[in-house]
């Protein structure tokens, strides 16, 4: 299992386009991927579910924990981390 804690810097948080990209990226991997908003004391939810990711209410500057488990766990974690660190491809 791989795990990382990352701060979401995007101005709308995990909503709209960033939320879509996050879920689409997660869906590319076979591993089980869970995500949790530690800034809002939430529970872990399925990172491949757009609805559940929205229920986390991740706003700008919130910190999230991502857990991946499965054959491509490391690759999945790296992909999601780089997506968030690149601010979802926006400068």
């Amino acid at each position: 299992m791989a795990e990382a804690t990352i701060q979401v810097k995007h101005k709308v948080g995990l909503h709209a386009r960033p939320a879509s990209l996050f879920v689409q990226t997660a869906a590319k991997f076979s591993s089980a991927i869970k995500v949790k908003n530690i800034s809002a004391n939430g529970n872990f939810v399925d990172a491949k579910s757009i609805i559940m990711v929205l229920t986390l209410g991740v706003m700008k500057d919130h910190e999230i924990v991502i857990q991946t488990e499965g054959a491509d766990a490391d690759a999945a974690l790296a992909a999601l981390k780089s997506l968030i660190e690149s601010n979802f491809g926006e400068s």
């Binding site: 101005k11 879509s20 579910s49 757009i50 609805i51 229920t55 209410g57 500057d61």
Partner: protein
């Protein structure tokens, strides 16, 4: 039979005349039947989901073609929700526990929508409607019903509905939709925004009894500019609206041609001619009439349409929409200007003998700082990349202005600390509408980046005349020499301090005042959009020198009647 008139929130400009089509979405009832095997129920669910996917792709393509990629994004979001593993997983669980596909779907979407609906932030909680919209689509397919009841519209009609979901609005056929009227919804609802993008007249927020008042097929007239809905008007009234409608349409053609030219005096000096705008729907109208900016954006409509103050997000979206419509032209946003004459329910208004001399405008903002800060945050955030200014109403004292500016600085600091993107260089100015402000402009210039004369209140306060009182309304004379002297004094003092000074009161759009104001050296004239073309024409007829002569001659008279009489002669000369 006298017609009935209902009033709603004007959401998209235009007049529509025709039969009402009552859109009542089919009650989708889940049939009470025994579930078949889980495999059978799940394959029915999968097949319905596949068809929903095809429908959404079709809607998305159609809207992208009509209104652009951004408007179509909502259906991409719906497709994602349709594929959501949480939704699928929950349906599977419920079916395996013995429910039918329909029951499982309704329960699963209700649960998931409930999770979103309970969230504090409007941006997130609003997404619950999307989950429901998606659930409804799949359920409708499971029940074997056609795409939407709006497909039943076969002749050009005004759609009357409780509310319209994004799917509903997207499936409206523009060639058959004269306009739409909804009982629910506000200016920021998806359907209102789409109506403005597509140029379909719309009124929202008509209230709960809308559908009771409009039987199907009823002949109706709606005006998306005023928010009025007339039910079964007689021929005379219908004729009148028909005339207004064709007048507006032919005027639009002429205006569009004139609108492209900037206002310039006969000797070639640029003068700004801008519009006063009271809601999002008229910003487009303003541009079509040739507005070079918005000299006064009233924000009261946001505060009076609901029983609670507008959220920061709601304001942010409205302001941004207006800034985007104005596409780089300057917009002066006036902060909250309400008072005891029209109190919103959520503010603790005392009974006032003289609401116009009471707790109103900037006085409320300084007392109710949370309300004020929310508005300032929304403006500053929405102003990123746009040409916006902030203006405080009814300032009568330098200390008041300093305190208001301090609050702006506090808000900016808070935004910066929270790393929220905002425009840090938004100019802050005041409306000159109290005699006190007019005579203190030189001192107020210390803390005001610009000035804008509000002549309606300035006239009322200077002449001590309530123009709403029929007994004294004839004493309300904006061309009164006392008012003109204050205006001149304001412009002179502002110019001496190197400050820009505009006017956003009714006087700015009055042809009999424009030559005088031009002679005083006013930088900007902001008026009702419809007055713009004539104002631009008039300005083009005058040299600055001639305007100065007219102004100084006008100032030699002792009464408003004498000034008006003199100006009548000048206007005949310029016609």
């Amino acid at each position: 039979m006298p017609e009935k008139i209902l009033q709603g929130i004007p959401a998209s400009d235009g007049i529509a005349i025709g039969p009402a089509f009552r859109y009542i979405p089919a009650e989708l009832t889940v049939p009470a039947r025994a579930a078949e095997s889980a495999d059978v129920e799940l394959s029915r669910f999968d097949a319905a989901r596949e068809q929903a996917r095809v429908e959404l792709q079709g809607l998305s393509n159609a809207i992208e073609k009509r209104a652009g990629k951004e408007e179509a994004a909502i259906f991409e979001a719906h497709r994602e929700m349709l594929n959501d593993p949480a939704l699928e997983g929950r349906v599977r669980e419920l079916v395996e526990s013995g429910q039918t596909a329909e029951q499982a779907l309704v329960n699963a979407t209700d649960e998931l929508a409930g999770l979103l609906a309970g969230m504090n932030d409007e941006l997130f909680s609003a997404r619950a409607l999307d989950v429901k919209d998606v659930g409804r689509r799949v359920l409708r397919i499971l029940l074997g019903l056609p795409d939407t009841a709006l497909g039943a519209v076969t002749e050009p009609s005004v759609i009357v509905a409780e509310d319209l979901t994004p799917s509903d609005t997207a499936s409206l056929d523009p060639s058959l939709t004269l306009g739409f009227v909804t009982a629910q919804g506000g200016l920021t609802s998806h359907s209102a925004i789409l109506a403005r993008t597509l140029g379909i007249p719309a009124i929202v927020g008509m209230g709960n009894n809308l559908l009771e008042n409009v039987p199907g097929g009823t002949f109706i007239v709606m005006d998306g500019r005023t928010g009025e809905l007339l039910i079964e008007p007689d021929e005379e009234i219908t004729g009148r609206y028909q005339k207004v409608k064709s007048q507006r349409e032919s005027q639009m053609q002429i205006l569009k041609a004139a609108a492209e030219k900037d206002a310039v005096t006969a000797n070639g000096r640029r003068v700004e001619v801008a519009a006063n705008v009271g809601e999002a729907a008229t910003a487009r109208d303003a541009i079509e009439h040739g507005a070079e900016g918005i000299g006064l954006l009233r924000t009261e409509f946001l505060y009076l349409e609901d029983t609670q103050p507008p959220s920061e997000e709601k304001q942010f979206h409205i302001y941004r929409e207006i800034f985007e419509v104005m596409a780089g032209r300057p917009v002066i946003v006036r902060t909250l200007d309400i008072g005891g004459d029209k109190p919103p329910s959520y503010l603790p208004f005392p009974t006032e003998m003289n609401p116009f001399l009471g707790w109103r405008a900037i006085r409320i903002s300084l007392d109710e700082q949370d309300l004020f800060k929310t508005q300032l945050r929304a403006i500053l955030r929405a102003a990123v990349g746009h040409h916006a200014r902030i203006m405080f109403p009814m300032v009568s004292d330098l200390d008041e202005l300093r305190r208001a500016r301090d609050i702006v600085d506090t808000v900016k600091r808070d935004l910066a600390l929270a790393s929220v993107e905002f425009a840090f260089d938004v100019p802050v100015g005041i409306m000159v509408e109290t005699p006190a402000a007019a005579v203190m402009v030189d001192a107020l210039a210390e803390a005001s980046d610009f000035f804008s004369l509000g002549t309606n209140d300035l006239t009322q306060y200077t002449l001590a005349v309530d123009r709403g009182n029929a007994k004294v309304a004839n004493l309300f004379q904006p061309l009164h020499p006392a008012v003109l002297r204050l205006i001149k004094q304001t412009i002179d003092a502002a110019r001496a301090k190197g400050k820009w000074v505009g006017m956003c009161g009714e006087l700015a759009g009055m042809t009999k005042a424009i030559p005088i104001l031009l002679g005083f050296g006013l930088d900007e004239f902001s008026m009702n959009p419809r007055a713009i073309p004539e104002a631009k024409r008039l300005i083009g007829q005058l040299t600055d020198e001639r305007a100065r002569e007219v102004a100084s001659h006008a100032m030699t008279f002792g009464t408003a009647a004498e000034i008006e009489n003199y100006m009548k002669g000048i206007l005949t000369e310029l016609a």
